[in-house]
Symmetry: C2
Amino acid sequence: MKQIVECVPNFSTSDPKVVESIVGEIESIENAHILDYTYDDYYNRLVVSFVGDKDSVLEAMLKSAAKAIELIDMNKHKGQHPRLGAVDVVPFIPLRASKIEDCVKIAKEFGGQLAKKHKVPVYLYGVAAQPGRNDLDWIRKGEYEALSEMIKKPGRQPDFGPREVHPMAGATITGARKIMAGFNVNLGTSDLKIAKKIARTLHAKKGGFSTVKAMAATIPEKGITQIGMSITDFEKTPIYRVFELLKIEADRYNVPIVSSEFCGMAPLKSILETAAYYLKIDNLNEDRVLEVSVAKAMEKGGRSG
Amino acid sequence: MKQIVECVPNFSTSDPKVVESIVGEIESIENAHILDYTYDDYYNRLVVSFVGDKDSVLEAMLKSAAKAIELIDMNKHKGQHPRLGAVDVVPFIPLRASKIEDCVKIAKEFGGQLAKKHKVPVYLYGVAAQPGRNDLDWIRKGEYEALSEMIKKPGRQPDFGPREVHPMAGATITGARKIMAGFNVNLGTSDLKIAKKIARTLHAKKGGFSTVKAMAATIPEKGITQIGMSITDFEKTPIYRVFELLKIEADRYNVPIVSSEFCGMAPLKSILETAAYYLKIDNLNEDRVLEVSVAKAMEKGGRSG
């Protein structure tokens, strides 16, 4: 089976023209395929999901990063999501037949080339990082605004590139991780304090679920707030459990849940776990799903026949 | 894209050796792929799901039916599910790139050949049927026990084969239908009367959901009862809605829901609808699911590249 890698770069923009240019660079690579991209003003952030073989993903990532560095000026950037640079964070994710080690290699290759070409300082995070430097929050401490000060501190030498902030693009973080679920829940209150209290109850570092990061943001044009979460291990911490606990905490403040959304692609297992929980089904796995099972049977048939 | 047809034959047996023989006949056809098969004593019924191209599916179905006719004696058959014969009902279902009309043709071909080879009377049902004869319940009225009397009645001439019950195998029903969801809910009561009352509230002909057939059965070894349902259009009548209404009716009798299961394969859309309802997600469709989207992107990439 062909190795496939996913890449989910986060760029610091929500300007439709800039978005179009960045996405266009990825689309220009023949064997890179965009699955999804979303952006919005309140995070002022573009999140793209694309897949392909290793070489195509690396090439598409370098091209789109170059475009972002050309068009985004971090000096003018405001947004509710923590960020260090124009090309803020670039995780590579192993899908079919590829491994986390393969993705660590791609991340290092990407980081090295990006730093060399554009003089952007690059930090590795997660499993690709130097010991003690794996945490994204630690790397982003103080965000873009404090970066020129932080970068000089002991132990904060970038993994690639100069120990100096790029004048427009800031710094970039890259690494490898497993598939995770991005899940946002919209609350029927404009009170950010309440949303922050709820987010804290779920957040790993505040005593919440060990695989969950949660933050609160306002969506002013709708008069609501949002709990934005990433669930790094949705098999250990199923999404329904996070949702139900969030609901219980929201009830305390009489805040209704307006709606939810996956941020990026929804992993099939998280959908199956959810349906299985609410319908009380014991044996619901991928092989029980008609379309998935048919695709597998046909692939198998094709190989033998 | 290659045309794929699914077939979900129901055989009147739960004898493991007979099951093995029947399933073995399907497995012997190179391009027929079994997705799933289940059988149990209380229905005394084997349900197989398999897929393949038209010719392979027809061939596998004729071979497995021949084996069932050879091994099953309907004179000795007891079971809670309505049935007419050893090869009780054989629906053909259009999947990728195939249409319901294609499946009507296969059903007629299957019915014609089966009747000719084994002298089994064959009825067409659903869209393949003669006008006024589409309903499975109407065809199965009085079941196997009344068949020799019913078959002689006006308007009940079989579509293929003799107007005479096969001495061991009874009669067979075949046709074409769209994908449907088979869904069973287990109730924490051994009282079949209560289960029957609940089943009636859901059943189309009793004023329930227009796309749902529901029946009640006992599972004596577990001391529980089961509502067995088929939902012919799970897009119009999502499974979560059926489940929630069932729960409301069960509450009336203080009967808890023990567990649920898909009978046969679970259609992806029914899973997505369920997750979307409980998590309040607006935009959850197949293209938002990582694995499905990646498979599509790779298929597309393969064609162009």
